[in-house]
Amino acid sequence: MKYLLTLYTAEAGWAQMTAEEKQQGMAAYMAFTEALKQSGAFLAADRLQPISTATTVRVANGKTQVLNGPYADSKEQLGGYFLIDVADLDAALSWAARCPAASHGVVEVRPLWAM
């Protein structure tokens, strides 16, 4: 089954890290991605630009509203995703637990619609 792991973390935390810490952080994500690829579970992954770059669009009553900023203003922000293909929810949850974001934020695990 395919699962999308969405990563929610506090962006402010990243900004406060030293160069060395950032390096370590990146290395942890690289290692996680590599492990996913090794196991054959990896389908896709991306990191998002900070929420300061986000713009929100909504069409209501025929009028397009464009707003500066992210959809949800919360303590932790959507910062990236992994798309994986594994046998079942338990396998997806164990990958989510290994994802570095789970240790400094939250990882949401959701199955994709099977088409």
């Binding site: 929810l89 338990d90 199955p111 099977a114």
Partner: protein, 424 residues
Amino acid sequence: MGDVKSTQSTDTSAVARSTADEVARRSYGKLIAYLASRTRDVAGAEDALSEAFASALADWPKNGCPASPEAWLLTAARRKMIDASRRQRTGALAADELRILADLEIAGAAHELPDDRLALLFVCSHPAIDSAVRAPLMLQVVLGLDAATIASAFLVSPVSMGQRLVRAKNKIRQAGIPFRIPEREQLAERLEAVLDAIYAAFAEGWTDPAGTDAARRDLSQEALFLGRLVTELLPDEPEALGLQALMLYAESRRLARRDSRGEYVPLAQQDCSLWDVPMIEQAEAFLVRAGELITRSTHSIGRYQLEAALQSAHAHRTRSGLNNWDAVVQLYDGLLAASQSPVVAINRALAVAQLHGPEAGLSEIRKLQADARLTEYQPYWAAVAELLAKTGAREEASKAYEIAIGLERDPAVRRFLQRKSEHL
């Protein structure tokens, strides 16, 4: 002639019905587990099996009961799942599901049917399932209880119970919760969730101590059945044995919890001749076996074993008249360290009062005042009231009794507290 015929058909119908009832009792959970474990479609398996039972009641009176009713029902249910899959699903999904269903092997005899019930119990208490719905889900899926019966036992409306069950079953299928026994490293944690759900079902049955509400009385029996099932399928798990011991100790006193007028009788005043002694012996045996496993392994003693050990100590004291309050306090210490539960702390304070006097008990219980969870917890106020009364603080005791009475939902316990308050 006509009369004879109709008598015959009544007979064969009655035989068919009693065979079907017997199979349902014996194998319902096994059949559901078998049908659902491959497709993860619990609701689909339930629907198909219920249709299969209906077909059986139409077919068996005419053609006779099959040699293996389980195999007959499984074959019929599989056909119905295939039909449903053709109707409801399209494309690759339908092809997948149809292939899975076609591959289902159907064994001849009941004892050849693989027993996937344990996996089903783990599915029902998976961390991805809302913890409040785990016990109801088990009762429905493994034992076949209907939503209305479960709803009334859990004091929830049948409609909302039905919705919760449907949501949970959808989640099992859509989120891909696996039908298997967790790996060794996860087993203890996941088993705890299974045991908690079984105990929740038992506790709901237990809140009807008089056994007047059939739905609830049965729930204790169903929980004991599930507990026994887990001990049979995982015989070396001490906590599963501990839970079974705990439930058996509680159940053994059911008759003694109310007097002939239906009034509540606290443990210390119960007539132990009303206790079910063979059941207490069974409980002891489970607890002893758990203890043996603990000493042979790296397991640490768990909450259910400690609670069962406490029950054992209380039962022993009441039957023998020997004072063992220091052992009881020690067990509560262990339980408190394991659970950090304020409920345990209250009971511990009462045991301390037995050992060192009411002032000592009160000073223990006052340490809990800051816990907001206790402001609406009847046993906390009843314990405070009892200890205050023993120290002679009648006015304060009376206030505490009033709060306790206001928080209690069982009228017999309410009357018991009222009598205590009046006799201050």
